[in-house]
Amino acid sequence: MMQMGELHGGSRMLSAWELLGQSGSFWLPPPAATSADVVDSVFQLILAVCTVFFVLIVGLMVLFVIMYRRRDGVEASDSPSHNTALEIMWTAVPVAISMVIFYYGFKGYLDLRTPPLNAYEVQVFAQKWSWTFQYPNGVVSEELHVPVDRPVRVVLSSQDVIHSFFVPAFRIKMDAVPGRYNQTWFQARTEGKFDIYCAEYCGSSDKDSQGHSSMLSKVVVHAPGEFENWLEDQANVVKRLPPAQAGEELYKRYGCAACHSTDGSARTGPSFKGIWGETHEFSNSTPTKVDENYLRESILEPMKKIRSGFQGVMPTFQGRFKNDQEIRAIIEFIKSLK
């Protein structure tokens, strides 16, 4: 439970509101992409309309309650019980205003949904409960790296249930639906790191405290020229590092860490620690020794042998690797976990 003392910290409360003022407008976080400018302008338009109408409705209501409050001996005045001209007026005015809002909302939406033809393309794989990003040269990462001031098209797919790719600072959101590809795009205009959230409820696991609310990542927006360097660097993981270290890198990059620990604790899947050379029992197969062939099969066809005490929920990684050395590197990494 929280400490009750915190509730009385008036200064803490104040600092929160100061923070709110510093980071973006009152209602919206700081915009960091061109899409945010589109959305924010429509947001401000609607906010203005809402404020006017709310003040009008509640203002009149309060005014009438005060002006026409019940007084002894005073009866309600005779006033007409309908007025066609007035009623048509207050039908027509909201129709006109809502058409204006609709128009700007739709116009902005077309921008959000129409990636430029020259956009850089990144594949996004969603699974319970991690994001993986793959670049045109095959590099895979846990965080989304992009260059500043360049349109980026993201193609979304899901390995299991529906997830949703949400970057509040860019004001973009698109569902990752299993069995189909959805796309969205953005052009970041501020360098830095921005949050990615999953916005479609996708469950959780108590075993390793993973779930919908921990399915988070970052967009890393690089300065001009830096993105290419980063990508070059990443492409060579197998060449640039010894196999076991490269395997560790790949273990993080492909999202294995979401389900497989390296410290012996069971998550959604069994831990990798100390399994090399052990003989394991399976709910759908005969006992097998953990060797190169078993590990390779478990990565590429995880449902063939489902470890006793676990549910078979792992998606296949067939076709996800850049080359065979990557699988080899992961096997070496597991081997190294004594």
Binding site: F26, F53, F64, V65, D78, S81, F106, R171, G203
Partner: protein, 558 residues
């Protein structure tokens, strides 16, 4: 009214009434009297409201600080699912029509009962059976899909989805039975003189609601059966692994569940139309516009379901059409609000408890309705979809709107239902406390959402780096929810206290001109011994307070 105290037993108070007509458990369990069925619904629905409210408080308490506060993530997922499912299927949908509507509709119409009393009782028992399913789900592994049952999560989770959707299927039939009954009653049982344009606006609202109940609910029933069949037999309808389409489920689900939003709010709007007119002592302004706007909402409401799916990958053309139609359905609601405000103009406004709730409704529904513009507009919805902004918006509509209207109606008809007057001062104070608590609980959620907080998050620790303000906003929201609960309990206590210590209610304590105020409080077993004289339901000028009788009475020559 205060003046009632000068008379020991005011005019129109009846000791021989539907409550005392017969006695014993079976006289209630097997009753065909719409008033008793309405009361049984009322008690059951309030119990569901309590259950759903307990889940709400548990959710809010978990979120009072980041990280784990008192439960595991899987427990949290179950609680928000059950909060939504119980509140939607057991409380909000049947709330006004089945509880208040059942009691009031036939009397307001001038009829002795609904058209099909046995169907009415069957509807209540189906509701009970559906509720039993939910209780069984609660005790046998729970449900963690969210009340929306989205596939393929719902076809793969190990919780009790099949039992829960069977329960919702049964509740759907309960709702259809009520709808059929109300349509038949309003068509067939109107007494001489009760023309369509003399129908009180509450009945127009119930009629429009019944149309939606009858036409939309079967779609939900079939969808949920398909979902159950997919889980039980591996049919490939929604699960892409079996060749199905998960987005198809969303289309089917919202084809019912969006019109269902109007099942929830239309009767509430009807209640507000009655109350504003009576307590402003004024004829309702723009009767025909209000009546027709209910029907318009019911019809256009069928065509907007795709606005729940602007980020699902549906085509831009579909997005455009659904957004346009969504703005169209907003217009009739705006018309109603302007008419209510105009009704108060030059009135003589009595701040009774029902009127307090009605005014609070205008404030809250104003916010709920206007924030819908952000969500109907395509560009802004992309950012706000599935964030706390949505949660705040629909709570302002469903709680600030429907629930406040339900409470307004409950306090309005309570003297008629029970023959007891409650304390105006205490009950009004409770309503103001409920109102303040509600705003504290839900207004911060708009800010949470527009700043990026996704809904259905068990923990927001990982979000604090970019958004340190989330902790404080969640904390205010949680504290608000406690005030909201205290206000509601205080209101409930006022009603229960009135049953034992309340003054006897006169036949017409508020000065209403609709027919239910012409029969005694509580009404006799068969409502009217002879068909009542039907006049203009909003002719407030002809209803004057008579201190000698301790009640409002009709003045013929006014």
């Amino acid at each position: 009214m205060a003046a009632a105290s000068s008379v020991a037993v005011p005019a129109g108070h009846a000791t021989d009434n539907y409550l005392t007509h017969t006695r014993g458990f079976l006289s209630w369990a097997l009753t065909l009297d719409h008033k008793r069925i309405g009361m049984m619904y009322l008690v059951s629905i309030m119990a569901s409201f309590l259950l759903g409210g307990i889940f709400a408080l548990l959710i809010r308490t978990e979120l009072i600080s980041p990280g784990r506060t008192m439960m595991q993530a899987s427990t949290y997922n179950q609680y928000f699912t059950l909060h939504g499912a119980v509140m939607t299927f057991l409380f909000i949908i049947p709330g006004i029509p089945a509880a208040l509507g059942n009691f009031v509709l036939p009397i307001m119409l001038g009829a002795k009962d609904v058209a099909f009393p046995r169907l009415n009782l069957a509807s209540f028992y189906l509701w009970l059976l559906g509720a039993v399913f939910f209780v069984v789900v609660l005790h046998t592994g729970g449900l963690d899909t969210g009340w929306t049952f989205y596939t393929p999560y719902s076809t793969t989770t190990s919780t009790q989805v099949t039992l829960a959707v069977t329960g919702a299927f049964i509740l759907g039939f309960s709702s259809i039975f009520t709808g059929v009954n109300f349509i038949a009653t309003i068509h067939m049982l109107r007494p001489p003189g009760m023309t369509w344009f003399r129908l009180p606006l509450f009945l127009w609202a119930l009629y429009a609601t019944a149309l939606v109940q009858v036409l939309a609910t079967p779609v939900l029933g079939i969808t949920l059966m398909l979902l159950a069949a997919e889980r039980l037999f591996g049919l490939g309808i929604f699960d892409p692994k079996l060749g199905g389409d998960p987005v198809l489920f969303q289309h089917f689900f919202w084809f019912y569940s969006h019109p269902a939003v109007y099942i929830m709010i239309l009767p509430g709007m009807g209640v507000i139309s009655e109350i504003i007119s009576v307590f402003s002592r004024k004829h309702i302004f723009g009767y025909k516009f209000i009546a027709m706007s209910s029907v318009a909402i019911a019809l256009i409401g069928f065509l907007v379901w795709g606005h729940h799916m602007f980020t699902s990958g549906q085509s831009r053309l579909a997005g455009m059409i659904f957004s346009g139609l969504t703005f169209a359905v907003a217009i009739p609601s705006a018309i109603k609000v302007f008419n209510w405000i105009s009704t108060m103009y030059k009135g003589s406004i009595y701040l009774t408890t029902p009127m307090w709730y009605a005014l609070e409704f205008l404030f809250l529904f104003g916010i709920g309705g206007l924030t819908g513009l952000f969500l109907g507009s395509l560009a802004t919805d992309v950012h706000l979809h599935d964030t706390y902004f949505i949660v705040a918006h629909f709570h302002y509509v469903m709680v600030g709107g429907t629930t406040f209207a339900f409470l307004a109606g409950l306090y309005y008809w309570w003297p008629k239902m029970t023959g007891c007057m409650y304390s105006q001062n205490w009950a009004s104070l409770a309503s103001v406390l409920t109102f303040i608590g509600f705003n504290l609980a839900f207004f911060p959620q708009f800010l949470l959402g527009s700043r990026g907080m996704p809904r259905r998050y068990y923990d927001y620790t990982g979000l604090l780096g970019e958004h340190p303000e989330f902790t404080h906003l969640h904390r205010v929201s949680t504290l608000g929810s406690y005030f909201l609960a205290i206000g509601l309990f205080m209101g409930l206590f006022c009603l229960i206290y009135s049953l034992f210590r309340g003054k006897p209610a006169p036949g017409n304590p508020w000065g209403g001109a609709t027919l239910e105020w012409q029969c005694s409080s509580p009404p006799p077993h068969d409502n009217f011994s002879s068909p009542p004289v039907v006049g203009d339901p909003y002719a407030m000028k002809n209803i004057k307070y008579d201190p000698k009788a301790g009640s409002y009475v009709k003045v013929e020559d006014a």
